[in-house]
Subunit: 167 residues, 2 copies
DNA sequence: AATATCTTTCATTTTTTTTTGAAAGTTTAG
DNA sequence: CTAAACTTTCAAAAAAAAATGAAAGATATT
């Protein structure tokens, strides 16, 4: 395979994968493009390479920066802004899991706590509801804690984790 | 909060969460409904409770069954079909991660291997591409292995995992 | 073998999400 | 201060995804 084709295939695949994980296609594609770019690139270049509009590029770059996985870089003497992606994969994974925990898991936990705390009704239907949502709360809380612990292992957490299971 | 409201809030929240994880809203809602139902329920009831059409219910139930997290149950003497969800959370999580690995991670790995194996070009751009996609391949492969190992711990894998980190 | 009960399929419609592009906003330079 | 060089915003358009519902398929019952 040619380099051009490989790059394009990588960007397309990453984009498609993004959709399956609740991230929009363009956002994932921009991220992919920046991941394999040896140095920071401008918005103009991103638009050109992915064939997208200025507004689209601007909004998705902003979203990536909100996730903390893409950085703005200013080159001296240059008016335009350049962008780079977090390239360290351990760091990338840590940032993504922290952010998802903050945005999705924590709010979900709040709701689970709420709904599992209703006054215990009499019907078996209500009893089962309380029981099941309580279990769900405990489970998600535990999972969230495990994730937090794992990502505390600053460097090479994944390798270390794998070791623990190889023994 | 009233039981009715709690149940509705739970279903809504689960549905919204589903969207963020690349699962469609109705599918997640049906799953939520079945999770808290003390016993198997019919398609008619699902349609009624969630206010959705027959076709929608049918397709999403089928999808849930393809994921292996909802089962069809036949009641003796009954013509209609009834449905239940996997209620054991450890089992549920194991099924979901195995399925996502099969459907998404494995195919992604294949592409990563492909694109990282192009003939090493001369330009630094190509070198960086090969280097980065190779790292990504290694990382994802390792993550997939960890996930596989973790889910092998049949029972209480989450608790056991947490222990390992508490020490 | 005709009817009744229930489920699936899929072309069409509806809803939701994403993208566009031009106007407004911002920052630097002269 | 004004112009030039960029970036952001957001209403409208386009595209994608999901839902509907009626017809076609099953399967059991008489």
């Amino acid at each position: 395979m040619e380099y051009r084709d490989a790059k394009s295939k990588f960007i397309q695949t990453w984009g498609a994968l993004g959709s399956q994980w609740g991230i929009n296609k363009t956002m994932a594609q921009i991220h992919a493009l920046l991941m394999v770019a040896p140095e920071a690139i401008s918005m103009e270049e991103i638009m050109e390479e992915l064939q997208i509009s200025r507004g689209n590029a601007s909004m998705n770059l902003r979203a990536l920066m909100d996730w903390g996985i893409v950085y703005k870089e200013l080159k001296p003497g240059e008016r335009r802004e350049f962008f780079t992606a977090e390239k360290d994969l351990d760091e990338l994974a840590v940032k993504i899991s922290r952010e998802r925990s903050r945005r999705e898991i924590k709010p979900a936990l709040k709701v689970l706590k709420e709904v599992s705390s209703i006054e215990g009704g009499t019907s078996s239907e209500e009893k089962h509801f309380i029981d099941q949502t309580t279990k769900l709360y405990d489970f998600v809380l535990k999972a969230d804690n495990v994730l937090e612990k794992i990502t505390e292992y600053k460097d090479n957490w994944l390798t270390q984790l794998l070791m623990k299971f190889m023994k």
